[in-house]
Amino acid sequence: MTDAVSLPAPAMRKGAAVGWLAVAVLLAVFPTIADALGQPALVPLVGRILIYGMAAATLNLVLGYGGLVSFGHAAYFGLGGYVAGVMALSARNGDLAFGLFPGTDQLLVALAVAAVMGAVLAAVIGSLSLRTSGVQFIMITLAFAQMVYFLFLSLKAYGGDDGLPMRRRLGIGALDMRDDRVLYFVALTGAVIVFLVIWRITVSRFGRVLSGLRQNEARMQAIGIAPRRYRLVAFILAGAGASMAGVLMANQLRFVSPDMLHWTKSGELMIMVILGGVGTLAGPFLGAAALVGLETVLGAFTERWQLLLGPILLAVVLYTHGGIAGLVTKLVKGRAP
């Protein structure tokens, strides 16, 4: 029965694998290039793009592959940010983070805790939200995320409205986290891991089922698949991943505030997925680069850069299909004989 969706072991096409490897190498030597060009400020910028890309990639798992329009992804991203901030604070004060567990100054510990907390939050929100579908699902995920936003807004012990600065970054062993390059490589490692995990998921049986449910739920049910369970697992995985990305973001900025949980942040993550290309591996990262790039370039000219973002986004939604990733594919295929 369930073998209907099993497929032979996945293998990346050779051309694609070489392409990805080239991108990875390019990103690995990027700090050196930036230094050579006399633009070291680009290093943290690209680091931020990679972290946003990770968060967007986890959203893409539910949105692009699962077809579930979750409009509350900032809840997990922001939660991760707060895990980093609060655990660092508790380590300094020697009290319990969230009144539950001791703090830490280790990044890997915070990442693990954030993954668990993100997963739990996603399990709660997901199990309620997945009782509905379509427009209701959009509204409900948005509303629950807003609830988390209000919760952290009211936690005066963790800064409330003003946010929570981190006096020192969380570290990994003896690595010097004050070095922009070290931070960059941490972000790059994270991004590569997320990329590989999501690639592995999408070519697995689980990933096929998820895609199948998006394309035709009735047929999947007919071959004996329970939709809710698969979707919930995807939702939980995405929540855990986004929460980990949130830890890295807060750690890079040394600051976390309710802004990270705000619904516009969910919108931005969604825009990244769409700009880049829904349901593609590279899309979320390309979209993150496009959005952060636009913000940096347009923001240098005018404070009102979002006035330009609006029409651009509108044009992308109305007139293009497949975003930047689609465009790249089209160009690459167009050149081939």
């Binding site: 309620l128 509905t132 209701q136 509303a143 009211s154 619904w263 969604m270 973002l309 509108l314 939604v317």
Partner: protein, 304 residues
């Protein structure tokens, strides 16, 4: 006792405002199947247009007409220019396109009128308070808001269930192709329904002016609460929107008013206040979760 009564009236007033927004949102979804995040922007347009005309002319009538007119006209322009292209698209495209509209509306408004909130005074004839019971007075303006909201609810009911245009709207929601085959210009009906929704949002916005501050972002704040209303009431149902709006308005207002006092009896002052602030701002969302557990399609699902 009078305190409770006052808060119940405040809750009703928030409830009818939410109803005006939720009715438009749920009608647009029920008829056209489109989710419009920019609905809150039309609320903002109504508030700004009314506030500015009131400041320029000092006439309450002109300011009401400006608020309603601006929201309805801009709403129909948005429908003709953008929304119309989205009816056949999936919800994701609709969410993103209307999110883009929010950015455009908010940034344009900031550009034109700045970040500073506008101050709107209560119209002369609705100033002051009235004594409802011995020793209990309540602002006339807020009573008027409740009255207008309930009148609109009745009007909408009559319009949708008792008129020819309402019949076409209902038919358009369930049997679009059939209505078109009978020679009805369904696109015109869509534009009109959208305009009506925009008008109601504008009405809510202009009435909110003297109560809340008129500023950029006011639309999104209330929009998310409106979503909660629509989910609780059952999407596509105007009756559900009314009931959901009143429930959400009352629960939100009463929690904020009385929870701190209740908690202070069992815990320390500052802790109680902090917890109360958190729980009362999350209250309506928890209520939504509860409703979903019992009735996943809302209290009054349309086309059940």
């Amino acid at each position: 006792m009078t305190l409770v009564l006052e808060q119940v009236l405040n809750g009703l007033q928030l409830g009818v405002m939410l109803f005006l927004l939720a009715a438009g949102l749920t009608l647009v979804f029920g008829v056209m199947g489109v989710i419009n995040l920019a609905h809150g922007s039309l609320y903002m347009v109504g508030a700004y247009a009314a506030a500015i005309v009131a400041a320029k002319t000092g006439s309450a009538v002109l300011s009401v007409l400006a608020g309603l007119g601006a929201a309805a006209v801009i709403g129909m322009i948005v429908e003709l220019g953008v929304l119309r292209r989205l009816y056949a698209r999936d919800h994701l495209d609709q969410v993103l396109a209307t999110f883009a509209l929010i950015l455009i509306f908010n940034e344009t408004t900031t550009l034109l009128f700045g970040r500073k909130p506008l101050f709107v005074s209560v119209p002369k004839m609705l100033e002051g308070s009235v004594e409802l019971m011995p020793g209990f007075t309540y602002p006339i303006y807020r009573l008027a808001v409740i009255g207008v909201g309930l009148l609109v609810a009745v009007g909408l009911y009559v319009l949708i269930n008792r008129t020819r245009i309402g019949m076409l709207v209902r038919a358009g929601a369930t049997h679009r192709q059939m209505v078109r085959a009978l020679g009805v210009d369904i696109r015109m009906i869509f534009t009109l329904v959208f305009g009506l929704g925009a008008l109601l949002a504008g009405l809510a916005g202009l009435m909110a002016g003297p109560i809340l501050s008129v500023q950029v972002g006011m639309g999104e704040q209330i929009l998310i609460l409106t979503f909660v209303v629509v989910v609780i009431g059952g999407i596509g149902s105007v009756r559900g929107a009314l009931l959901g709006a009143l429930i959400v308005g009352l629960v939100d207002t009463l929690l904020r008013a009385f929870l701190p006092g209740l908690l202070r009896q069992v815990m320390q002052g500052p802790d109680a206040d902090a917890l109360a602030a958190g729980v009362s701002s999350m209250g309506v969302y928890l209520l939504m979760a509860l409703v979903l557990l019992v009735r996943p399609r809302g209290l009054f699902p349309a086309h059940a």
